[in-house]
Symmetry: C2
Subunit: 201 residues, 2 copies
DNA sequence: GAGCGATCATAACTTTGTTATGTCTGCGTG
DNA sequence: CACGCAGACATAACAAAGTTATGATCGCTC
């Protein structure tokens, strides 16, 4: 198999490009193959099915997201570092909207990642949990805070992307500066969580 | 048109049932029609297209959600009332998983609600914003807090549903009592936002 | 050099949304 | 009362897209 991996990579690249261009709903097996000059069967020989192809894109997405999040410097002071982490998370979602849809939204109707792939995705959460644990080591249950923070990041990003996709007003109050709104919201949450310790009810 | 609206209702009911049974990806026009004893064309005469049918389900969902949220008593004391509101929001999502997917996730790939429908959805956010404004009238920008709270509710619910759908461990730490985890997270957020006022940095 | 497995093509099959076309019923009008 | 027309519904065909069946080619191994 001399260039078989290369062909595979070519197909993956084409799939990634088409995914980004046309969104998760517009990714067609025929087009992926045609974009590489192959016949439709190429996808099936290399990925067994559309599911298999999507799974590779899914894993690729987590690999990229993991790299982006790792690149956030960890020497920051507490909340500042977490804020940067959260901003990197949003940047990934905005810059890779379709991929984010595949990974975290249900943008591809019948795609269900395998257990192994899902476990890979888990590492992303663990990266966040580690930062949270660093932030407040004395907190009894950092995973609980990490859960809340992740849910907030994900919710904010999802709503922003929905906004962007649908053009129209969803929460018109928030149009204008999405990144600023996101930062404000995350800052609110972090400061709030910070204050909670200082002021133990 | 003697019983035409009735036929329409029958189709809508069947569609809702099939949506709940098989999820958004499993809703087929043929099956909706067949479930009512009609031919496929019945859907097209009454809803013009699958999009049209989905749009009615979308509106129906918001109607139901609005009723559920309105039913939350508004005489509660501040955060307590908002917590009940948030729990009602989650209950709707969990009890109407597929509908929630249609309304707020991208579970139906190519469905895009019309502007009018989207505006209807906006009222849900406004209901939350009103409660938040009641909660802390002195807050300068209640819509901003409402945005954060909605994003958090939505994020938590989305992650929980993803969990449930995929069976496997996503954040295994959180398996066990989803409603309890949700309540804890929301309570954290609300207490934290509350504390932020008392302690103005 | 023969066979075998992997890669790739052509073409057919299947599902599902959609459209074309026709029938029938009920109702308002001349 | 006959006419015709509009809406509801059926049958059947069409189109897009995932998939499978089948065959051809090429390289590698025995």
């Amino acid at each position: 198999m001399p260039n078989s991996t290369t062909t595979r990579e070519t197909l993956l690249d084409a799939a990634l490009r088409l995914l980004a261009e046309r969104g998760p709903g517009g990714l067609r097996v025929r087009d992926v193959a045609a974009a590489t000059g192959q016949s439709t069967m190429g996808v099936y020989t290399h990925f067994a099915s559309k599911q298999g192809l999507l799974e590779q894109l899914y894993l690729h997405g987590f690999s990229r997201l993991g790299a982006d999040l790792d690149a956030v410097p960890s020497h920051g002071e507490g909340a500042q570092e977490l804020l940067a982490f959260a901003l990197a998370y949003r940047a990934f979602a905005v810059d890779n909207e379709a991929l984010y849809g595949l990974m975290f939204e249900r943008a591809t109707p019948d795609f269900v990642p395998s257990d192994a792939s899902r476990r890979t995705g888990l590492t992303t959460f663990e990266m966040l949990a580690a930062r949270v644990a660093d932030w407040h080591p004395e907190r009894a249950d950092p995973a609980s805070d990490a859960h809340l923070i992740w849910a907030t990041m994900h919710g904010l990003v999802t709503i922003e992307l929905m906004h962007e996709r649908w053009g129209g007003p969803l929460v018109e109050h928030l149009s204008g500066d999405p990144e600023g709104n996101y930062e404000t919201a995350i800052r609110s949450l972090l400061e709030a969580l910070d204050g909670r310790d200082i002021e133990p009810a």
